[in-house]
Symmetry: D2
Subunit: 417 residues, 4 copies
């Protein structure tokens, strides 16, 4: 099992990729009971069995139905139940009520997956037109995104349970003090960002284009929990001047005084992880902070968040290595004065999520994949400790609303030179 | 299994009663998957596994802990998780979030039940002080109430699923036309209401006391679906003058145009039942209408709802027989020009739920059982098709807010003489 | 001006009554600026100029339009703007948005009143059919109700202003300690309640009918602020066991810890009145408490609230005298060990607001006046310090939802004998 | 009066500017009754008398208190009542409740203005340190912003009144058909944007900096009502594929089917203006559309919204002339195939409102002026028909949330070359 989790997606054949990605989803769901897989702990999350079914629906809807004339739907109502947000392929069940649907249950979803996998196996064993192969690749990257969402959502669910059950038993690293960050200087000037390669990329990473940067430095490691404890101790959550107006309103409305999943007992901080409750490790990147918190921290610290272009200008020359999805970890790991730009925590940037110049959505219904979310969200970069290996890259643009805290979100500071 | 469902609660021994009632709960849960048992489909309902655990918590908290010195709690957190509303026995998990708690799962709840049942078996096999025996009886009637709630809640859950799955396969009676109701006359005068017997009754049925009634008639059968279709056809849901102000606001806000679970297709009405979707049977008592709808119907029909005293004055001389919980039915059955006052549907009365003169809540924490809900609710009488046999009686006072539609609620008209 | 306020409504002629009541409304509005008269400080209140216009609309709609063929409407849109809740006379402007309508302004409303008064003067100077005269009387009692509402609403408005401006300058009585209440005993038995006289009464006070009472005592004065301070000091707002479930939820949601308009500074309580901020006077009846608070206090104090029948059984032999609307007071006055049953504060009863046996709503659109509110409200009795003199009587039934605090609401305890 | 409205702000002396700007505010309020000036028609708007007082508070707080030792506050509570959002100068009254405060009334606000104006006159007649003069200029531009807000807010208020009263009687231009837009080409490349002059600019326009543009064209006139009618007729509001996900949700939640203030009667569109209700003029720029609508229209039309850099690159060489605040117009005027980039309607850009590279907020409390709103808002450019003459410029950045419709917001299309 561990193998699957630590092997990257792109391999020799699409068929092998398909099997590997699909198997990983089931592997991630395996520690969860039917009850666990049923619950939606808030409107933004989805039940595990919904993730398992929806990713299957993607292949059924965009590959099997158009490409395999003899294909017979597993169940006629599933097109309605498991469509996430594709307006052009029909009505769909309201998102906030996904947790009300107890049937199909986890076992029937497994049967649905097996049925579709068998049909997909037949399709993949033949010759595929490039546009069809591209859709399969999209479906696999889509499923990888849901693998990460599944773990984010399960963490939220388990944290909402007063019993605070762990997803898996995981060894806990010994807490250690954090050390100051080194800084990486960039000279600025005209740089190119966006995806320019031959492999897979989402439409929102394109086209590659020029931007002008001023000279800047980027800190060589993310902000750590030790840094964050200093922020809290200095009244970070109590001084309005550090905060955006919307952020301050969120602090007040939500009673925020620490990152999500932190709790204080006897003047020491603990944190809920997928491995259960732990002491906060000062050397670990801080995680589960909103954009508002990241922005306030940066202002307090005398720095700022990088733009996505700055981040990519530095990251594009770095290897895509780091602490990605590994079921023996599932949590940010301790860092020294520098660390990879990739893995551990998604890093908030000061860039809103909008179209690159010349952006064209993908053709067909999958054109709804990214473009229609381009407002009121911030870009995050780098991948995190529950991102499947091989899923991210320097040009990869993740995005969430500025109030989101349940993804594995952290930050890395920039400074004007 | 069917035996359990159709045999009344009171038997020779409390021990046998205990086993019979407890077994019935498990029998009712048996057709439900772990996923079904986990979902809370709206804030007013509870997951099946919560009902199973909460009724167990009642015995653990009010019997085993105080009475059995050697008793060791099954799980220390369950006192918090499964307390419904007893302020005096400690904090409790917020009701609207019961559906977020995936663990303990259905199997662990079964183990909890077995553990408590074993300890209760030991307790019940000894001599019990009368006050203790009374608490056991209260716990059993409490569990019977939750048996009915469990089925109400499951019906709501299954109806929210676009697949509209049945709880059980049940034979559907052939629809037949309704016939006009006969009327039963009562001369009025001073009558006594409230429980005056030696058996079990809830504190809210006491003390027995005198009231003055004017002469009146009570219809000899509940209002039927055929009656209701006439109301709808006459614009019942569209004419404000029929309605209480709050009722009219509810019609507008909820888009009500028929009882809950009814839907119209091709000008004919169907209804979702625990046995699945069916044609509406005109001869059946209408069910799943709010107090607002019952009151509007009565005004439209030129009658009125009875007071609870009027209802009881007629019912007290009738046998407590009728269409109660039977897993081969689980739905109101067709009626002629007269039918039992008991069973089929709870009947809304025009009486608000308040204390009888001289009311004293039961001593101790169980004093919270009834008294603290005595505001902004209406009394219902008679029991329904999912009320366990033996659970109700002429003095029994059920109560719900006037907007509630998910209980098995109907009505019976009264008229001034 | 003071004369108008202290002379009772019923006089020799309807014409004189009309002029007196109509003048008093304008007198009550006189201290208020156009700005004051425009604001709606919460959805349950209405702007002063709306009250002035709506009471005028009543005469225009129910008297002038049907009775005076030559009558020409002052403004065609006012029928829509100033209908409060009469469904049968057409659409109406949504209640919660009354404060958004800046025009017509206070001066145009004055012109509207003068226009209607002139036409009414002509109508009243002729011979009136009894049914028409009854409608005029209804209109005048309706306007008296709005005089009280106007002052309640203005108090809420001024209290919401951080400047805490007074409605009028009023001399403040010297605070004095409260003394214990005496009790009045009633033997119980069959008594008649409801209006049985020849004068004006609302339909909801009829028909007069018999009820059975058990022997009881009623305290001879309302609960005082001194009593209430003892309740607060004893943790009254902090102990769930005193409260109805809905009441406890309201305490938590609203952060209640004292009556509305009370505030604590340096361990002493002050209260906002129509005469401005004052020290709380322990000898004054407590005012601006919800039904929930009244009920909780009664339970804490070892008493209970009376039923409306009990209250009326005692009150029916008492003179209707007390601290009513007087612009030199406008606040409950200090009481000794006994005081009138009328005036000072409306007294919550444990009776819900429902139809008397044999109740028939008034014919026509004014049948909507009372009957359609008969659910989820509690009856209050006695009148208060802003009730116009002559407006109330022993059978008068006021009603508000159990959460209401902005009316002048207090309580008087009863005890089982 | 008209003179004041049509003369630009910057003149020979700050003192004269001060008087001119301050007088214009009072001139704009003059047609409004005290009642009109009191109402807050939704949480986003403010009462006229609040705008008048708040702009005065700005001078009292940031100029008179720090600079004039002998200055005595007009009223101690006004600092609390009329602070809009400056956290660092103390607590403030909650924004959504501004409409509840009836006092001070319009006349007392006039006295407040006169009092502060007198003290400011004395201050301005002496020598001012440059930093102080800058604060005065900021206060004047701040007041000009509130002049526009005042008119936006009044329009919303009057439109909420079923009587649909006009703010002023204004001659209505004869409707005429729209003509197609010409396009202006820009070659792209590296351009500088941001304020680089010596005069007044807000901190958010700085620093001036380079950006890279691709070749593009900008339409030479805004989108017109005629264009918009074509969009509506083609099902623009009914086809999800045109819309951002958040936009489609807003369409559904708000029941949007035309711009704000439009209504359809007998298949023809009318629009509410500050001059009252009119027929929609196809040749006029469409106004009161949200960002969501602007974006959907652009997608439907096969174009896109320009970035703010593209807009400014074209506008920076154009004269700042157009249809600005003129009390004989107060509405967008008909356009031909080209028109000014300035005036008529604020034009939504695809750029979110964020900091320019190297942005530094102004020092002191006024640093809260702009920076803290830099999230979840979109930039608008150009000024509109209620923007005071002289207030805007090519680098001026206005911003609103993407759902806002009550500002005078329209759009201009761009196209990739």
């Amino acid at each position: 099992m561990a193998d699957l989790m630590t092997i990257a997606c792109p391999t020799e054949t699409l068929e092998a990729d398909y099997r590997r990605v699909r198997d990983l989803t089931e592997e991630l769901a395996a520690p969860l009971s039917p009850e666990d897989q049923t619950v939606q702990s808030m409107p933004d999350t989805s039940p595990t069995k919904w993730h398992r079914a929806h990713t299957t629906w993607f292949f059924e809807t965009f590959l099997l139905q158009p490409q395999v004339p003899s294909y017979s739907m597993f169940h006629p109502a599933f097109a309605y139940l498991f469509n996430s947000y594709y307006e052009s392929v029909g009505d769909r069940f309201p998102r906030p009520h996904r947790g009300v649907v107890s049937r199909p249950g986890a076992a029937e979803v497994a049967a649905y997956r097996a049925y579709v996998d068998e049909a997909m196996g037949a399709l993949l064993s033949g010759d595929l037109a490039p546009v069809v192969a591209d859709l399969v690749a999209l479906g696999l990257h889509h499923e990888q995104q849901h693998q990460e969402l599944l773990l984010m959502d399960v963490k939220h669910l388990l944290a909402a349970n007063p019993l605070r059950p762990a997803y898996l038993a995981i060894d806990e690293p010994t807490p250690e003090p954090q050390v100051p960050a080194r800084r990486v200087a960039h000279p600025g000037g005209i740089v190119e960002i966006g995806y320019g390669g031959e492999g897979f990329a989402f439409d929102n990473e394109c086209p590659r284009h020029e931007v002008v940067l001023r000279p800047f430095t980027l800190e060589a490691r993310p902000v750590t929990c030790g840094d964050w404890i200093a922020f809290i101790s200095d009244g970070g959550y109590e001084v309005a001047e550090h905060w955006l107006a919307d952020g301050w309103a969120a602090v007040k409305a939500g009673g925020w005084r620490a990152p999500l999943y932190w709790s204080e007992l006897d003047r020491s901080w603990s944190v809920f992880t997928l491995g259960g409750e732990r002491s906060v490790n000062p050397a670990e990147p801080v995680c589960h902070v909103s954009y508002y918190e990241a922005d306030a921290f940066a202002r307090w610290a005398g720095g700022r968040l990088p733009t996505e272009a700055e981040w990519e200008a530095v990251a594009s020359s770095r290897p895509v290595e780091g602490n990605f999805l590994d079921r023996n970890v599932l949590h940010p790991g301790p860092v020294g004065s520098e660390s990879s730009l990739f893995g551990d925590v998604w890093q908030w940037t000061s860039s809103d999520y909008s179209a690159y110049p010349g952006f064209r959505p993908a053709a067909g219904a999958v054109g709804e994949y990214n473009g229609k979310f381009m407002v009121s969200q911030q870009v995050l970069r780098g991948g995190c400790c529950v991102t499947p290996v091989g899923h991210t890259r320097a040009s990869y643009r993740n995005f969430f609303p500025p109030s989101a805290r349940w993804p594995f979100t952290g930050l890395r500071l920039a400074h004007d030179s």
